[in-house]
Every structure is written in structure tokens, then in C-alpha cells.
């Protein structure tokens, strides 16, 4: 495989992975609020714009990359039971 092909393959592979970009609201080591805010924003966005509104999916992408799975499960349960503390 030539260097050019290798490079092209590498670029293709890079497209498959993703990392949340820098968010100026959360410049610190502590990313708790970043995860939380994106979770709240996702459901708020869906509530306001409707469930099929594609741009909302960005928030979901960010929170699924940041939040631990067991946090999301817990918050999902809380939303279902109507005891979620955030404003959605």
C-alpha cells in the first residue's frame, strides 16, 4: 500500500471516530456539567422542536460521549417517573 493510500485509509478511519469538541462553557477538568447540560438540552430541544428535528441529535451525541451509561439510565428512569430535577 502506498503512502497516499495509507493516508487516505487513515483519514477514512478517522471519520468513524468522534470526540466532543471544546465547549467554552466547560473549559475545566470537571466535565460533569457538560454532560448534564447536553442531556437536558437534548430533551428540551426535542420538546420544543419535535422528536424528528435532526439538529437535536447533536446534543445526544455529546452526552452519550461524555456521560457514564449508569448516569443516563438513572436520568431516563427519573424522567419516566416525572422526578427528573432538570428543566425540560
Amino acid at each position: 500500500m502506498s503512502a497516499v493510500e495509507k493516508n487516505a485509509e487513515y483519514e477514512e478511519l478517522k471519520k468513524k471516530i468522534w470526540c466532543p469538541p471544546f465547549d467554552a462553557r466547560f473549559p475545566n477538568q470537571n466535565q460533569t456539567r457538560n454532560c448534564w447540560q447536553n442531556y437536558v438540552d437534548y430533551f428540551r430541544c426535542q420538546k420544543i422542536k419535535g422528536e424528528d428535528y435532526a439538529p437535536c441529535e447533536y446534543f445526544k451525541k455529546v452526552y452519550t460521549h461524555l456521560c457514564p451509561g449508569f448516569w443516563v439510565e438513572q436520568w431516563d428512569d427519573q424522567r419516566e417517573n416525572g422526578v427528573f430535577p432538570g428543566k425540560i
Binding site: K16, I17, N30, T32, T64, P68
Partner: protein
């Protein structure tokens, strides 16, 4: 078995650990200089026969021995601050590795099209293969690509733990209810070992951290295969 190589810091596998290694050497040079100077002065003062009963003050000498240590401290502080801020840099490219501390194992999540999550338990001594490291091997290693930024996001499900990888120069407390992020750039493929670094209970010593760095191609294949 201890070997001579262990006298120094662990081999660096990330640019930040290399920087810390250099800073360590930088600080040691200063320490050796001061130690030698003080030792020589101490010996000279003890054994020389000249004393002065009349010298009560020496303004210029005092000025010099105030300014020189100040400069030496600055010589130590500036690279230290530079390194401190370098360590705090967050990556926005590459991948995310989520690690959660439990009593007493680590669980990992690697977000991809679907999130891959698994627990990582220490391999007990009776199950070790020839050449494995006692108290360091785990059943499921966290896998990351090398030559790429990895953002490690750590938290805990119960008590304080700390996610540590000495050869990456990374150590971060895993705090329940809080997400701590750190950036790690693995330079070389390999298997890297660390141990929980915050006393977390009876089996604190038995929850090692193992990260396997593979090429991006193998990493993507691994994730796609796991789905």
C-alpha cells in the same frame, strides 16, 4: 525483581510524561547543585581556621545571597508552571474512553456507533499465564489507538478511586457524582499498566488498570467487531 532501570522514572509513552521526565531531571540538577554547594560550604566552614570577630554586616554579600536563590527558584518555577498548564490542555480530537471506578474493579465505556461497555477485573494469581504480571493483569483491557488523543473521562460508582497510568503521566481521581477528564496521547503501541491510586477499601490493591494501545485501524476493527 528489582533492576537498575527501576531507579529512574518509568519509560515515557506520551509527550507529557517525557516532559515530566525532563522537568524531573531539571529539578534534580538544581537540587544537586544546592546540595553540593551547601555540603562544600559546610565542610569548609567546619575545618577552616580563619574566623572574623569584627564582621557584623555585609550588605553586598546579603544582597547576592538573596538574589541568587530567588533566581534559582524562578528557574524552577517557570518550567514547572509551563508543565502544569500543558498537563491541563484538553483534547478535542481523537476518542473518548470513559472509566468508572467500582469497589473493586474498573468498568470502561468506549462510545462508538453504539457504546461498548465492559468490566475489567484483575486476573487472580492462580489464573496467570507464564510471563503475566502478578496483581497487574486484567481480564478485559481498555483499548485505545496510539498516535492519537484520547480523552479519558473518569468517575466512580461508589467511593473515591483514582485512574492512573504512569507511563502516560496521567493520574486522576474518580469521584462519585463528578466527571473528571484528562487528555492522554499514547505515542507507541503497547500494553500499559497502572493501579488504583486512591485508597478505596479492602481490595484497593487489586483493581489494576491496563490499557492496550493499538493502531487506529485495529481499534476501529475491534469496535466494529464488538458491535
Amino acid at each position: 525483581m528489582s533492576t537498575w532501570g527501576q531507579l529512574n522514572l518509568i519509560d515515557a509513552a506520551s509527550p507529557l510524561q517525557s516532559e515530566m521526565f525532563l522537568f524531573h531531571d531539571h529539578a534534580i540538577v538544581l537540587l544537586l547543585g544546592i546540595f553540593s554547594l551547601v555540603a562544600i560550604l559546610g565542610v569548609k566552614l567546619t575545618f577552616n581556621k580563619f574566623t572574623s570577630h569584627t564582621m557584623l554586616e555585609a550588605q553586598s554579600l546579603e544582597t547576592i545571597w538573596t538574589i541568587i536563590p530567588a533566581l534559582l527558584l524562578l528557574w524552577l518555577a517557570l518550567p514547572s508552571l509551563r508543565l502544569l498548564y500543558l498537563l491541563d490542555e484538553q483534547s478535542n480530537s481523537g476518542i473518548v474512553l470513559k472509566s468508572t471506578g467500582h469497589q473493586w474493579y474498573w468498568s470502561y465505556e468506549i462510545p462508538f456507533t453504539q457504546s461498548l461497555s465492559f468490566d475489567s477485573y484483575m486476573v487472580p494469581e492462580s489464573d496467570l499465564n507464564h510471563g503475566d504480571f502478578r496483581l497487574l493483569e486484567v481480564d478485559n483491557r481498555a483499548t485505545v489507538p496510539f498516535q492519537m488523543e484520547t480523552s479519558v473521562i473518569t468517575t466512580s460508582a461508589d467511593v473515591l478511586h483514582a485512574w492512573t497510568l504512569p507511563s502516560m503521566g496521567v493520574k486522576m481521581d474518580a469521584v462519585p457524582g463528578r466527571l473528571n477528564s484528562m487528555s492522554m496521547f499514547v505515542e507507541k503501541p503497547g500494553v500499559y499498566y497502572g493501579q488504583c491510586s486512591e485508597i478505596c477499601g479492602a481490595n484497593h490493591s487489586f483493581m489494576p488498570i491496563v490499557v492496550e494501545a493499538v493502531s487506529l485501524k485495529d481499534f476501529v476493527n475491534y469496535l466494529e467487531g464488538a458491535e
